[in-house]
Structure formats: C-alpha cells, structure tokens
Symmetry: C2
Subunit: 208 residues, 2 copies
DNA sequence: AGTATTGGATACTATGACTATCCAACCACA
DNA sequence: TGTGGTTGGATAGTCATAGTATCCAATACT
C-alpha cells in the first residue's frame, strides 16, 4: 500500500507519519522509485505500537524510539535488553546514584536482588521517596502484601514468554512489561471503585 | 518562614514556586504586609506533593492541580471524589464513548460493576485496545490471574483507609491511588528482573 | 499530456513548564 | 533615617516536545 492508504488505515496524518520516519520510529517503505514506496501490515502495526507507547504508556517519542530499536535489533540477551527497556520507562531519573537506601531495604526485606545498576531500582527509590515525602510512607505490611501479589503477576507475565524463540521472547518481554502496565493500573483503579462501592453499600445498609 | 527559606528547604526555585502559586497548586502564605508573607510546613509538604504528582506519577501541572483541589475541598463523598481523581490520572481520554466493549467484557468476566461513567473504565478500554493493536491481546487467563492479584492489592489499599475520618479518608484514598501506582509498577519491573535472572541461572545450570 | 501523489527537506506552530525582569513596597540593621 | 536586600505581583521571554505546513521536483495514473 502507499502512504495515503497508511494514513487512512491508521488515522494518523501524513505529516505525523513523516515525523516518525524522520525520528527513526517507523521504518521506511520499500522504494519502488524516487518518489514512491510501498508499505505493509508491518507499518500499520508499528504505527499502532508508536501510539500505544506514547499515548497509553506515556513515553516520549524519543523513549518510544529507544524501546522500538531494542525490539528491532535482534540482541538475544533478554536480561540485559529488559534492563535497557525499563530505563526507557517513566519515571525518568536525571542523576543516578550508586545507593538507593529505601529500595535496598525494601528489596532485602522481600528477598530480591538489589542491583543499583538496574534502572527499576532507581525508579523504585524515587517512587518510595515520593510516597514518603507526601506523608504516605510505604509500611512493611503494605510492602509485603504488594510484593506477594506483584510476584504473582510477574509470574503470569514471565510464564507467557515464548521460551523457544530468539528475538520474539525479547519483543514479548519488553512490550509486555510496558503494555500491560496501564492495564494493571486501570484494573487497580477499578478494584478501588468496586471495593469502595461495596463498602459504601454495606455501610449504608448497616446504618439503616 | 519566608519564601527564601521555602526555596532552601525544597530546592525548588523561587520562580517555580511563584508559578505554582499562580496556577493555584500552592496556597498563598499568610500575608503580614503588602510585600511579606509567612509559610509553614504545610507549604513544604504541598510542594513535595506537587513534585510527586508531576515528576513521579506523571501528571501535568494542570491535572495535579485538579487532584490537589479535590483533597483540599472537604467534599465527603469518597466514591465520587475518587472517580474525579481517577479522571485526572493518565492515560487521558479525549473523547469519551458510552460503550467500552473490551472493558465491559473483561469486567463482566471478573465480576465487577461496569459503569461507563467511571473514567477508569475508559482508561481500561484504551489500555486493552492498545495491547490488542500491538499484538499482545489480553487473554482470559491473564485477565483472571491479574484480577485476583489486583483485587488483593486493592484490598490492602482500602484496608488502610482511615474509616473514622471525614476528609482524611478522601485524601488518603485519592493520594494512595495515585502515589502507590509508580511503586507497584517499579515492583513489577523488579519482579520481572528477578524472575528472569532466576530462570536464566536455572537454564544455564541445567545446560551444563 | 495533464493532474494528483510522493519523498525529502525545511520551516513553522502550539502547548506546557518554567525562567527572568521589573517595579514598588517593604523590613531590618547601621 | 538611610539603604541594601527581600518580597509580591505582573508580564514577558525561553526551551523542549510533538507535531503541522509548505515547497519542490520526480513520478504515477488516466
């Protein structure tokens, strides 16, 4: 298909598609002449991915590009690739320290490896510090409770990774980490709503 | 204390503090004269909250203002206030529909109320649609697994809400929903890392 | 042949989040 | 009682991000 069709199919304006091409997020189509190129389903999916990462996950176009480059390059080291992908996820750290006291204490408590090199540790520290500064420090009970449920979720995630596949495992892991995050956030918000309404109903019933 | 001290204590530049004052995120200090006002710990905490909501949770200054106004106003309807607060959280919906097929199907399956009025439903739909478009549709197994763990997390959250307090319950619920979100995201990322490293270790051991 | 469609380059715009300047009124100390 | 440093309030300027819009020359379709 030609660009015009790509515009139709995705609803993304031509000027924006050109912008993504310039920024290296969208691969160029196969040129058939100096002023013509053909695009495929691949491009449609890629544009969906770009919009998902920017609009839903909340990445900048820049960071979305980093993630896309990771899943495009066939680097097979899942562990390291996942680390790089996480570094492209918000919240972004400006200056990285070599010690994250809150994160270390929490991770030691729940029995996970503490590696200050891993971006998520810095993000964890930042999130914990923010909660503390706001007057809602992370209690040990909450930490323990969260940890067991989060581990359960992570096991579902990891269980779904295609073990016998080279680059597709990387793609699945990287995208899965990012893409399911807003789903989990929405589900938690909905669960709050659900519990609040039940509690409200129970309360008003008992008060009558 | 005076502004200069507020600047010292928080590390936030004066110009920025003035900006937050203009935007209504920070309450003015008590004026002692036409060109002097005093600030308290209240203001220090508020500035920390603003930074937490914008930098860690990822809200725009505008949306952070909405959240802050909610916890400032002593509106006691927890249920409705929570709904408004969630609407201030990303991902932001531009056009809200009256039907969200994916969200409805998912919520019916896991036995929760489906109310298209509630912002989180729209956010859920958007996140589900994005996952689908990217080629990682939400399977029913994943949905069920996520749902039980998320409900467990939400119970921890709701359990901590001070039941016998008017406005503080609202503040706790609204901030708790927003502030613990990045913590949960970071914990999931860390759990992935943890599981990936264990699986990697197990794999390399068995292969030798 | 003539009109519409591209690729590629460049320039422009809109929004958000600050940042800087000014000024007039202080206030605190010498 | 000056006099320099500190405010509050208003206004203007900056910088980055994410597009939009224009142009042009080279095709492509009819």
């Amino acid at each position: 298909m030609r660009v015009s069709e790509l515009v139709e199919r995705t609803g993304i304006p031509l000027a924006t598609i050109k912008y993504y091409l310039r920024e290296g997020l969208l691969m160029p189509g196969t040129a058939t002449s100096a002023t013509q190129a053909v695009y495929g389903e691949h491009h449609v999916r890629r544009l969906a991915l770009i919009r998902a990462l920017t609009e839903v996950v909340g990445l900048t176009v820049q960071k979305a590009g980093e993630v896309i480059r990771l899943i495009d390059s066939p680097e097979p080291d899942l562990f390291e690739t996942l680390g790089k992908a996480v570094a492209a996820l918000p919240p972004y750290l400006d200056d990285l320290a070599d010690d994250y006291p809150r994160a270390r204490a929490a991770l030691e408590r729940i029995g996970q490896v503490y590696d200050p090199e891993y971006a998520a540790v810095g993000q964890f520290e930042r999130a914990l510090a923010a909660a503390e500064a706001v007057g809602l420090p992370m209690s040990e009970e909450r930490l323990d409770g969260y940890a067991s449920h989060v581990m359960g979720i992570a096991e579902i995630d990891i269980g779904g990774v295609p073990a016998e596949s080279p680059g597709s495992a990387v793609e699945y892991a990287v995208l899965g980490t990012a893409i399911y995050e807003p789903i989990l956030a929405a589900m938690r918000r909905l669960a709050h709503q659900d519990l609040a309404s039940r509690r409200l109903a129970a309360g008003s019933t008992s008060e009558q």
